[in-house]
Assembly symmetry: D3
Homo-oligomer: 134 residues x 6
């Protein structure tokens, strides 16, 4: 159902540039599971490598934002962009990182509210207050 083939483990093993990324995904996540997104990207090993390295740098490296917070931001963007796969995969990741049902409920409430006020602002074409331009 995808527009590109999803590489099997055997096919991935046979392409060194793919194998090395898949190995790194498995090592970084400490899991054998490679989800379909990477199997689709593997058709273009350079794109696979760039995308994985960016995701690894942004989502797994220690920083100023809690890893769970990053996943919730990811869910927020994916929702607004209507990416069903991304909502599913990052909600699963957020749960794996400890998101509680209460946190999930509050996340949904903020996402819904933002969706509402974004639309109200745009339909009213509200000009930015000078107080915000600093």
């Amino acid at each position: 159902m995808s527009t590109v083939p999803l590489l099997t483990n055997e096919e991935a093993e046979a392409i060194p540039a793919v194998k090395s990324v898949f190995d790194d995904i498995r090592a970084t996540r400490n899991s054998d599971f490679i989800n379909n997104f990477w199997r689709g990207l593997a058709n273009d090993p350079a794109l696979l490598k760039r995308t994985w390295e960016a995701l690894k740098a942004v989502m797994t490296v220690e920083g100023a934002l809690d890893p769970l917070v990053r996943e919730m931001i990811y869910i927020a963007v994916s929702t607004a962009n209507g990416c069903s796969y991304c909502v599913h995969s990052h909600t699963a990741a957020a749960k794996a990182k400890g998101m509680t049902p209460q946190q999930h409920g509050e996340l949904l409430a903020v996402i819904g509210l933002a969706g509402q006020t974004n639309h109200l602002v745009t339909s009213m074409q509200i000009p930015v207050d000078v107080e915000f331009l600093i």
Copy 2:
């Protein structure tokens, strides 16, 4: 430049249903400043009241998510929806709640990455892994 008039303080004072909401915004925020969004909504006092009460419940009440995290989620949704006013107002709010430049940088990095992978997933039409459907 908006498609509805933005009510001045004088006009707002003259409509009891608007005045009571503006008073509550000022009291809740401990500030005299009423930003343009509320001045536009004030043309429809019932919509103004519902929207403010929802925002107050979602964004200001104590809960499982840090208020700064809620603002960052708001920025994420507003970015994906392309709402310039909302990005400006909630970035200002996030800074007022203590968002550091490093946190801002990481927020942008997650938003950008999500934008990228959302598009990659959609153009490849990746099917959801059964592992995510639990």
Copy 3:
């Protein structure tokens, strides 16, 4: 500020394929005013003609929907797509067709609510009820 030049009346007069569309816009609307959208499209006379004829057929011909209702639907789509110009031009058109402030307020309320529930549905990935699939 546009990415294509906006043709002046003089430039439009000099290109028969543009002039004939501009003449028809003026005759149909019973007004001399040609808004910037058409002046931009005029760089490609065939695109100008196709777009105007589609708009004329959809928005001005008598049908099952009131012309004002069509303008409100147009505003709704333009809001969700974040098209500032389109929100401005079709709100002006709706007001010219008699949209009252109360109707405008209700339109905004529906647009905002839909924005909210669209986001809630997508972040929850709600499956379509079989009752709706008929």
Copy 4:
């Protein structure tokens, strides 16, 4: 397949804050049917209550816009936001409120046209005519 559990009638009955909203939905709609959207929201009773009360106020109360017109505006926003569930549920609601095939066809025509001109305007970056800024 949703990212939150969909509460069954039994589960909903057991939570007073959910039961009272479900009862009101049934009474307002004069039907026993509770669609999946509300079953998902029921995981967060406060969000359920706020959302239902907003929807009830905007969509069911008598006002300046015909209830069918409100449903068509809802479909328009939901389409532009790519919310499949929302398009299905509000198209079903519009048909239940009497939308004829001819009205549906005209609705689709306006939505499609707006989608087209929204894109043309944005790719040309057309500046707003001063005539629209009043």
Copy 5:
């Protein structure tokens, strides 16, 4: 599962205004296959005719852009709009017009990069450089 019935060949044959468009689609494409999009539009023969004639003029007539390039642009827009059907149908069309896996990979890379930088720009609210306004 669609919100309108999809006309069968028999139903289409019985409506002259539909039959003539279906005949032209078959003749233009040199194929008996009529995809579901046209079967849905056939509920409104005037909309069917306008849409097909626009698509024929834009996508099949000789011009300054290679037909394969036009399909790739179509995929790009459809991805950003989250239209699953459109991504599938135009990816199939692009492959039929000779899109190689390498070209497909590069198309995906550009789409993903644009998705990323679009989001970064919007969340930073970068003002347009005067150098671009010429």
Copy 6:
């Protein structure tokens, strides 16, 4: 007006990790001009570096797609995402790479048509033909 400061040349020179990216942008483009996007990203040198290297790899390296075609795909995505800055900057880039007014007109025609049919498909919820799933 941006939500982050735009680094001046002097500020950029003072941060080695920024200076080296700016130097590479100038060398790659054979121009002294650094547009605002990079000046905003420079607040986070790691994000600046990753983004520039991705853009350099995707947009400037020789490949299967013509550089002008890549710019046109970029414009298409940026339009659908409503990113005004991105439409301006990549239209300028496309013109610098030789895009003719006729090509621009055809690009706009495809973008507009895709916008239209994307919306029609989504509002009709057309199921994907099995013929496309190969």
